[in-house]
C-alpha cells in the first residue's frame, strides 16, 4: 500500500499535535518547557480578550507594513529592474545591505518614533522591502526579450508593452518576492514587539515569558503560527489565480506527445 504525500503530511501534523498534548501530560517534558496543547488553548481562551486586542494591534501593524514593504518594493523593483542606470547605482548597495541584520536599526527607530506601532511599522516595512524589491527587479530583468520584440512586431506601443507584457510576465516572480517579503514583515513586527513595546502578540509572549507562564507564552506562539500559515494560504491562493501558466509542466509534457492527433483535423 502506498501513502500519498498529502496523507503523509497530514499524518505528520496530526502526530506532532498529539505529541504536543501527550508528552507534557505524562511529564516526559516538564510543563514549564512545553505546556500541553489543551492547557495552552485554555490559557488563550481564558484571556481571549487580551489576545484578541493584541492580535488586532499586530494585524494592524502587519497590514500597514505590508503596504509599505510590498508596494514600495514593487515600485522600486520595477524602476531598478527596467532602467539600467538606477540598477548600476543602487543594486550593489542593496545587495550588501541585504546581509546586514536590520534588527540593529530597531532601537534607533524607537528613539525616533517611540515604542508604539510606528516604530514597528517602520522596522517591518524596511525588513520586508528588500526581498520584494530584489524579486521584482529580478522578475522584470528576466522577462524574455523575444516577447517584447514580438509585441512590437504586432504594433504594441510602449504603454501596451508595459501593461500587457512586462507586468503579466513579472507577476510570478513578484509574487514569490511578496511571499518572502510578507513573511519577513510578520517576523519584523513580532520581533520588534518582543524587543521594546507595549502591545501586540510579541509583547504578550515576551511579558508572559518574564513571569514564566509557559501556557500563555505558547498561546501567543500559536497565534503567530496561525497568522503565518494564514498569510501563506492567501499568497498561494493568489498565486494559483494569477499564475496558472507557471505550474503546468505536467500538462506540457503530456501535450508534447500529442502533436499527431492535432494534425488530423487539418489534413483529413
Amino acid at each position: 500500500m502506498t501513502i500519498s504525500s498529502t496523507t503523509l503530511r497530514r499524518m505528520i501534523v496530526v502526530s506532532l499535535i498529539l505529541c504536543w498534548e501527550i508528552l507534557p501530560r505524562f511529564h516526559v517534558i516538564p510543563e514549564l518547557f512545553l505546556p500541553s496543547l489543551s492547557s495552552t488553548l485554555l490559557a488563550g481562551w481564558t484571556d481571549a480578550g487580551e489576545y484578541g486586542h493584541a492580535l488586532m494591534v499586530t494585524l494592524y501593524e502587519v497590514a500597514v507594513s505590508m503596504v509599505f514593504a510590498c508596494g514600495g518594493g514593487i515600485i522600486a523593483g520595477a524602476v531598478v529592474g527596467s532602467l539600467p542606470r538606477p540598477r548600476v547605482l543602487i543594486m550593489p548597495m542593496v545587495s550588501s545591505l541585504y546581509a546586514v541584520p536590520l534588527v540593529i536599526l530597531y532601537p534607533v527607530f524607537t528613539v525616533w518614533l517611540g515604542i508604539g506601532s510606528e516604530s514597528k511599522i517602520a522596522f517591518a516595512s524596511i525588513y520586508g522591502f528588500l526581498p520584494t524589491m530584489l524579486a521584482t527587479a529580478a522578475g522584470i530583468q528576466t522577462i524574455d526579450p523575444q516577447l517584447l520584440i514580438a509585441a512590437r512586431s504586432m504594433g504594441a506601443t510602449l504603454t501596451q508593452r508595459v501593461t500587457r507584457v512586462i507586468i503579466p510576465a513579472a507577476i510570478p516572480t513578484v509574487l514569490s518576492g511578496l511571499r518572502v517579503g510578507g513573511a519577513l514583515v510578520i517576523v519584523g513586527v513580532v520581533v520588534s514587539e518582543m524587543l521594546i513595546s507595549s502591545a501586540g502578540i510579541g509583547y504578550l509572549i515576551s511579558r508572559y515569558r518574564t513571569i514564566l507562564d509557559s501556557a500563555h507564552v505558547f498561546a501567543g506562539v500559536l497565534l503567530v503560527l496561525v497568522l503565518a500559515v494564514a498569510f501563506n494560504a492567501i499568497i498561494r491562493f493568489v498565486e494559483r489565480r494569477a499564475a496558472i501558466w507557471q505550474t503546468g509542466t505536467h500538462a506540457g509534457a503530456d501535450a508534447a506527445g500529442g502533436d499527431a492527433p492535432a494534425i488530423l483535423p487539418a489534413t483529413a
Binding site: 524574455d144 523575444q146 516577447l147 520584440i149 514580438a150 509585441a151 512590437r152 512586431s153 504586432m154 504594433g155 504594441a156 506601443t157 501596451q160 500587457r164 507584457v165 503579466p168 510576465a169 507577476i171 499564475a243 496558472i244 501558466w245 507557471q246 503546468g248 509542466t249 500538462a251 506540457g252 503530456d254 501535450a255 508534447a256 506527445g257 500529442g258 502533436d259 492535432a262 494534425i263 483535423p265 487539418a266 489534413t267
Partner: protein, 268 residues
C-alpha cells in the same frame, strides 16, 4: 475540406503584398568599430510569392527580415511593402513569425492569437471570430483554450503562425520558424505552411538554414554571402506544386540544392 470554406475569407481582397528592397545597407556601429552587415541588397518580390532567404550564419538574412518587419532601421536604401515605405512595425501589412514561438505564457492559444487585435481595441466578439478562423486555418481549432505550456513545440509554432495571420496582412515574414523543431515535426510543418500559403495567397519571406527546406518550400531562393551580406544568387524553383516528399530525392531537387550549397561553401 470543411476548413477551406472558412479560410477563403482570409484572402486579401486585392493582390497586395509586393515587396521592393532597393540598395539596402546596414552598418552596426560599436564604440570602437563599425561592421557592415548588409551591403547594397536589392530584391523585388511579386505578390503571393514564396521567397526563401538562405546564406551562411551571420550573413544578415535575419537582419534583413527584421528590417522588413520594421523592427530595425536600415542604414541606407529603401524598403517598400505594398508600395509604401516601412518605417515602423505595421501589422496591417506585415505579420511576423519568429524562431521561438514567442507566445505569452499567461494567455490561452486563442488569446495569444487575438493579441494583435486586442492591442488595437477590436471588440471581443470580432476578435474571437478572427482568432477562431486563424486557429482553424492552422489546424488547431480544438486547442483554443489551452495555454502554451500545454502545447507541443509544433503546436506552439502553429499558434504563432495563426497570430501572424490573424490581421490578414498581405505579407508574412518567417525567421527560421521551424529551426527549433525536430525533423519529423519540421517536415509536417513545412507541408502545413504550404497548405496555409496556398489557401491564403500571402507573400511569404522565409529565412532558413536548411537547404532542403529552402528548395522544398520556395518559389524563389535568394542566396546571400557572408558578411557583409550581399545577394549572390537568385534562383527560381521550377518544381511543380504541390510539392511532394518524392521530389526530395529527384535530380532537379538535388541540382538546385547543390547550386545553393556551392555559393554557401564559397563564402563560408
Amino acid at each position: 475540406m470543411q476548413p477551406l470554406a472558412n479560410v477563403t475569407r482570409l484572402q486579401p481582397a486585392s493582390r497586395a503584398g509586393s515587396i521592393q528592397i532597393k540598395n539596402v545597407g546596414q552598418v552596426f556601429k560599436t564604440s570602437t568599430q563599425s561592421v557592415e552587415a548588409l551591403s547594397d541588397v536589392s530584391l523585388d518580390v511579386k505578390p503571393g510569392k514564396f521567397v526563401v532567404l538562405v546564406g551562411p550564419s551571420g550573413c544578415g538574412k535575419s537582419t534583413l527580415l527584421m528590417m522588413l518587419a520594421g523592427l530595425r532601421k536600415q542604414t541606407s536604401g529603401t524598403i517598400l511593402i505594398n508600395g509604401a515605405p516601412i518605417v515602423a512595425p505595421d501589422p496591417d501589412r506585415i505579420g511576423v513569425v519568429f524562431q521561438e514561438p514567442s507566445l505569452f505564457p499567461w494567455l490561452t492559444a486563442e488569446e495569444n492569437v487575438e493579441f494583435p487585435l486586442t492591442l488595437r481595441g477590436v471588440d471581443k466578439a470580432e476578435r474571437r471570430r478572427k482568432a477562431q478562423e486563424a486557429l482553424l486555418l492552422v489546424g488547431l481549432d480544438g486547442f483554443a483554450k489551452r495555454h502554451p505550456h500545454e502545447l507541443s513545440g509544433g503546436m506552439k509554432q502553429r499558434v504563432s503562425i495563426a497570430r501572424g495571420l490573424v490581421q490578414d496582412p498581405p505579407v508574412l515574414l518567417m525567421d527560421e520558424p521551424f529551426a527549433a523543431l525536430d525533423e519529423q515535426t519540421r517536415m509536417t510543418m513545412g507541408d502545413e505552411l504550404l497548405r496555409i500559403w496556398a489557401a491564403t495567397g500571402k507573400t511569404v519571406v522565409f529565412v532558413t538554414h536548411s537547404l532542403t527546406e529552402a528548395v522544398y518550400l520556395a518559389d524563389e531562393v535568394v542566396v546571400m554571402s557572408a558578411r557583409p551580406g550581399r545577394i549572390v544568387d537568385h534562383l527560381t524553383v521550377t518544381l511543380p506544386r504541390p510539392r511532394t516528399y518524392e521530389m526530395l530525392s529527384g535530380d532537379a531537387f538535388g541540382a538546385m540544392r547543390d547550386r545553393i550549397w556551392r555559393h554557401i561553401r564559397k563564402s563560408a
